[in-house]
């Protein structure tokens, strides 16, 4: 297993002068039912602050006021407006589904809808309750090599069938080979598996062990994939920077609120810009 280092941030290149918001990708985030709107809001903050060119959130309409109050830079679409969802998804470069999605019938329908809608050039991130839904269901991934799962250890157990105690590199890698998707296995030392390699994130701290840290990472990965190459290196950079910023914040904070990580993104991305 390779240990990530600061070099993995070299994908954060200086932006070309002649560019517009389309240059940096269109990201669609799907989640946030009527009860759990906070998760998708945190993903959105991470995605916008990470530099996604255009960010649209498909969510329950009860979440629109809070989303706009925190992040007017994102657009917000009612997930019952299928026609508008269709047009938004059709032009997406990256889709994230899962934060606060829930696991009811509506959530399952949305996941199936995304599987039907995804095209071969669209990257799909499956997070949170969408992982559990996928694990329970029997649908196949349309484009495994264009898919990343971001489970924590219990979600990985559901998805892979591997008990937490048995989640070794070798066994994880074997399941990755079956799934073909990239795996971001979140823990106090997050691991990333793709079809050739396994990576370990050496950074992170226990102040990050609070609700929303994973939603924020998922949004960052989406924002990075929107503007940087569709590769495991881009995912590695998001994982590494997420913990790097949290470690900076932890020097002065017993708890690291995930929204603070998002707010610090533009500053640290500039610092590491090549």
């Amino acid at each position: 297993m390779q240990t990530l280092s600061k070099e993995c941030l070299s994908i954060i290149q200086q932006r070309p002068q002649n560019s517009h918001k389309g240059t940096f990708g269109r990201t669609v985030l799907i989640g946030g039912n009527a009860q759990f709107g906070g998760a998708i809001i945190m993903s959105t903050e991470a995605c916008v602050q990470a530099g996604s060119g255009l960010t649209t959130v498909i969510t329950d309409s009860t979440n629109h006021p809070a989303l706009h109050a925190r992040m007017p830079e994102a657009m917000s679409v009612d997930w019952n407006d299928r026609q508008l969802c269709d047009s938004v998804i059709a032009t997406a470069d990256v889709i994230l589904i899962g934060p606060g999605l829930g696991e009811d019938k509506k959530s399952q329908e949305l996941l199936s809808y995304i599987f039907k809608s995804q095209t071969k050039d669209q990257y799909l991130i499956i997070d949170g309750s969408a992982i559990s839904l996928f694990a329970k269901g029997n649908e196949a991934l349309p484009y495994p090599e264009m898919t990343v799962f971001t489970p924590h250890q219990m979600e990985w157990q559901r998805l892979s069938g591997i008990k937490i105690a048995d989640q070794t590199e070798e066994i994880n890698q074997a399941v990755q080979q079956e799934l073909q998707a990239t795996i971001v296995l979140k823990s106090h030392q997050t691991e990333i598996y793709d079809d050739r390699n396994a990576f370990q994130n050496p950074l992170g701290n226990p102040g990050m062990a609070t609700g929303g840290t994973g939603d924020t990472l998922a949004g960052m990965i989406a924002g990075f994939l929107a503007q940087f190459p569709h590769s495991v290196e881009t995912i590695n950079a998001a994982v590494y920077l997420h913990s790097y910023i949290a470690d900076q914040l932890a020097q002065d904070n017993y708890v690291v609120l995930p929204t603070k990580i998002s707010q610090a993104l533009p500053y640290w991305m500039k610092k590491f810009e090549k």
Copy 2:
């Protein structure tokens, strides 16, 4: 009566490296009717910033937008969705009921519901209007030794029957012996009573005499009990630090807004970390 000192903050230990959000506890906060949503929002901010691993708020659905706008890190459950409430409460380590709860039929039902739901390992904090409801009712505490009341002097009069002028250490302690629960008697010099001891907080300032200071303290106690031992020492630390931070803020502020105390929690907890 023992006077609290900075030593009481020694429960704020360095977090273990190998941890996840479950390590730092699941807290459920119940309050905020359609009119008085601000109180439960302030408790939530204190609880999350104090480091509760996972914070869920059971409240009237009209409060969800403001709660998510201020604190997306917390989850929000409609208190009419009993099935969801059941599952959230079943996994709680600490329950706080009362801030902005009101005193109508619905509020009474919720308090009774919590008394029926509490298990022997769950710590229960009873604050604000829930204290008045309990005082008026005739229900018994399911687990007195796992319960803390956080009355101000008038609420203590209602609960204990002791008139404010008569609230001496000896008489307060006697009523505590009957109730068996821990008492945090809020005043300009807050006192804490458990079955063996009485403590007095020497800190605090008149800039804190503004709406929400008590809701914030209740949220802090919940967040501390979620991650630190279920003991009076943990409650003492929350009371002491709440006033300590307020005293720092009062050096430059005529009024100390309670939300400012919450925002300063991660910084000061880091400072006092052992």
Copy 3:
């Protein structure tokens, strides 16, 4: 006409140690219809930051989410819940009516209701559209000497019948004698009239000429009257400090947003504390 000076701030006394939120007054703010909620929110921010012990807002329920998102320290009551309004108003020390109230039938009813409810110890501030409503109506002030009007020049024209060009000290004072209420006549050099004196505020700057500056002043006056003596000196201090803070902000800001004035209140009140 006396020119106000820094000495007028000497009413900002150090708070007594043995105090609680009731010590610093209960303020009720009434305004904000379904369209114009921003005005009452700005008054609320000023009132809370100025140090009112307990602040309750009676407003259209559509304004609750934004009010709680900005200022959870204030309580919020639906103005259609007459029973709750009754109990809130019964315990008020200071009542402010007008910011964003509108001038329709509902607004008129609320103003009449307040006139019926006011008791002889409650101070009443009439601002914004409530001034126009009063001018159009034929109701008498219940307690003129416990009432302050805060008109800008056009509202003063409506209230007094004096055209803007004719609003000289002598004529203004004459109308004040009829009304008996205190008048805060807002302009680029605000004047204050009570039954014995006229005062002029020498401070202020054109960066304050933006929507919400008056709503903020009205909220500050309410917050000051809640905790300091019910006298013209208290009103003078609010007027002077409002402009003093704005002048500090104007050194670095072409426009002075009124909410920035409110946010700076605790700091400057501490600076001037006797």
Copy 4:
């Protein structure tokens, strides 16, 4: 084509002492349907922070909570309340229509309504989806010389019929001559065309290539026209300062969130004040 320089900011004059909010103009912003409320919120923030005396937003009522939560300084009117819209528009100095307006029947009706309402002294800014609606329709501008379009390159293609690759100075100028309105053609080097001149903005950076940058510029132009002369020089200054501030922010930020530009406006306008 003339290149803009810092001299164009000389229209930012010191404000006259004897002034009130009316002195600095009444601006009405129209946009934000039930889904895309963020755009009009960002325009509003720019307009208020730029110093418009009084700012009113006509929008879908679902956007009121988020608008008030972020910017209580602005008033908010439901666009279905035609009577209130009438009275607000009748007193406007500047009208902006388009951000997040959408392109459905309701949006088209609103645009037609504005064309019918505009008077010869009111400046009209047409942005975003209102440009596409105008391009599709067959209505004439009531006062072309009092109108500015703010298209990006694709919207300019729709409006002018000129393909992006063919949008040269000469051809753009020719279409401007037909339209007679001023054109702000947004790109990484924004161009401004009026009936006599063409200007190019030399500033700006690729960190601005994110959703909301255009909405913010439109709001700034509105705020500038409200208080400064109705001339192309005023529009030039808004375009130049928008990029100037973004360039300052880009020194420390990989992405420049548009709301950060708005928040920095009072500071930079003061710096450049003559």
